[in-house]
């Protein structure tokens, strides 16, 4: 069972969830939609981002301060101060990003505490880590786009850090700045990274979901309302503002840190660059290795379900019910009375036995727990007086 996790922690989580059930009932318990919460915030980000994109101008052209100056900072300023509800949309975009990071971390924690991240689930865990890293980077590019003094410091810190990587460093820096130095082209590159990567999240999410049948990606409406309401309350409580406009001829040195997205920069400011990259890359790899089988000697191994070939009628009920897309219906061999035959993809199978429950013909079995044995045991127990 939950062998690799401290028992108290799992029990505590289950107890908290039960307490939430008592108030909200199971149907509206946000813990049961923990994966759908960041997905919902992603839609909020796409929509609010689209509205911001309509008014955003990706240039740094601030060499001549004139009244008609148009650059990234002034366009953000225009969105915030002049456009009807521009400030609200901007703040929603900011806080939905923060909320997405929080919900992703909660999602990962719950998945870890309830032991739902390894064996047949390793692929979801690893793709989840990659998605999280992508979300972090996308969020950081969002902070460059505002083009206030903080953006300038962050851009310089990033390009220095990238340049320090052996062999590919200078190339990465050129890619990042879209040239050798910060120019107008830099911001259009940032905008492209910000939006392009966001859409590539969808591809990553497809990989994240592909092994699951009926993935839970939409919370019920009442929870959605709550999620948006939280954002709107924060829009009022903590209005989003920009710092001073960036001027590439100056050397600003300090900035206000956003702990959801900018914590790597805190690290970068306090350790040397080599240590920074070792920590970041090492940490990511270590997170990906958490589901490694050799770390869990006590865990009981998965024994994939097996189809009883001469009993399978090809009715597809097991394939429909399998929660991990592990059963594929293939054409039956010639000479069979039926059209289709169920086959198990062992690498996806969790050994849960849902297919056994779905089969009305006793045609699929867990090798370590035959349904005939279970039925015989039940009969023996019921008959003993």
């Amino acid at each position: 069972m939950y062998s690799s996790i401290p028992k108290g922690m799992t029990d505590l989580t289950l107890a908290i969830e039960k307490a939430v059930n008592a108030v909200l009932t199971n149907k509206y318990n946000p813990f049961y939609y923990h994966g759908a919460l960041p997905q919902f915030y992603l839609w909020v980000l796409f929509l609010s981002g689209l509205l911001l994109f309509a008014y955003y101008i990706p240039t740094i052209d601030n060499a001549y301060f004139s009244e008609n100056l148009v650059n990234a900072w002034t366009s953000v300023d225009y969105i915030t101060d002049t456009l009807p509800y521009g400030a609200v949309v901007r703040a929603i975009h900011r806080y939905a990003g923060d909320a997405m990071v929080i919900t992703i971390v909660l999602h990962a924690l719950r998945v870890w505490i309830t032991d739902r991240y390894r064996q047949y689930r390793w692929f979801q865990w690893v793709s989840g880590i990659v998605l999280f890293l992508m979300v972090m980077f996308i969020g950081q590019t969002g902070y460059y786009l505002v083009w206030d003094e903080r953006s300038l410091i962050l851009t310089r810190m990033t390009s220095t850090a990238l340049e320090a990587i052996p062999f590919i460093g200078p190339g990465l820096k050129t890619w990042f700045l879209n040239g050798g130095a910060i120019t107008n082209l830099t911001l259009s590159n940032f905008l492209f990274i910000h939006i392009g990567f966001s859409f590539s999240l969808l591809f990553g999410l497809w990989l994240h979901y592909v092994r699951m049948t009926r993935p839970v990606i939409t919370p019920p409406p009442a929870i959605n309302y709550m999620l948006v309401a939280v954002l709107l309350v924060f829009v009022f409580l903590v209005p989003v503002t920009s710092g001073k406009m960036a001027d590439i001829n100056t050397q600003p040195t300090s900035f206000e840190i956003d702990w959801f997205f900018l914590w790597p920069y805190y690290l970068l400011a306090h350790v040397d660059i080599t240590t920074y990259w070792v920590l970041i890359i090492g940490g990511s790899v270590a997170l990906c290795l958490i589901p490694l089988p050799s770390l869990y000697k006590a865990a009981h191994p998965v024994e994939p379900a097996e189809v009883v070939l001469n009993k399978c009628t090809g009715c597809s009920m097991c394939a429909a019910d399998c929660p991990y897309q592990a059963i594929e219906m293939v054409p039956a061999p010639s000479g069979s009375r039926f059209k289709k035959l169920a086959t198990v993809k062992a690498y996806r199978c969790s050994g849960c036995g849902v297919c056994v429950g779905a089969c009305a013909f006793d045609a699929i079995d867990l090798p370590n727990l035959l349904d005939t044995d279970v039925t015989a045991k039940i009969k023996a127990l019921a008959e003993a007086q």
Binding site: K27, T82, A87, A91, A222, A229, V238
Partner: protein
């Protein structure tokens, strides 16, 4: 909790949602809207259908408090927008309570099978 509490929650949520929503035009107009500043459709409603609407002009106490908070937090203009967002958020909270009360299913820990006749 029984059906009674559910319906009470649903009604409370619904009423709260409507009440908070009524304050939105006030926020939309910069939080101290007098009648001549109202949007045309709202004026029309008030005159032609004789709908009694709250006297937004008298809510200016809140307006000064909320504006003071927003100024302190760094917002520079269009304070009404922020207030509108807050009211929208509160209305959504209230409606979420209402929706959840209507949609919730009791007895989730126990299923007794219905006996077929």
């Amino acid at each position: 909790m029984g059906k009674g509490i559910n319906s009470i929650l649903a009604i409370v949520g619904g009423v709260l949602c409507v009440l908070i929503t009524l304050a939105m035009p006030w926020a939309e107009l910069g939080m101290d809207a007098s009648f001549q500043n109202w949007p045309e459709w709202l004026k029309w409603l008030s005159i032609n259908l004789n709908v009694p609407l709250p006297d937004y002009a008298h809510m200016s106490n809140y307006a000064s408090e909320w504006t003071a908070h927003l100024k302190k937090a760094g917002a520079e203009s269009r304070y009404g927008d922020y207030a509108y967002a807050l009211l929208m958020g509160l209305a959504m909270f209230a409606s979420a309570i209402g929706i959840a009360a209507v949609g919730r299913e009791e007895g989730e820990e126990k299923t007794v099978l219905p006996v077929k006749k």
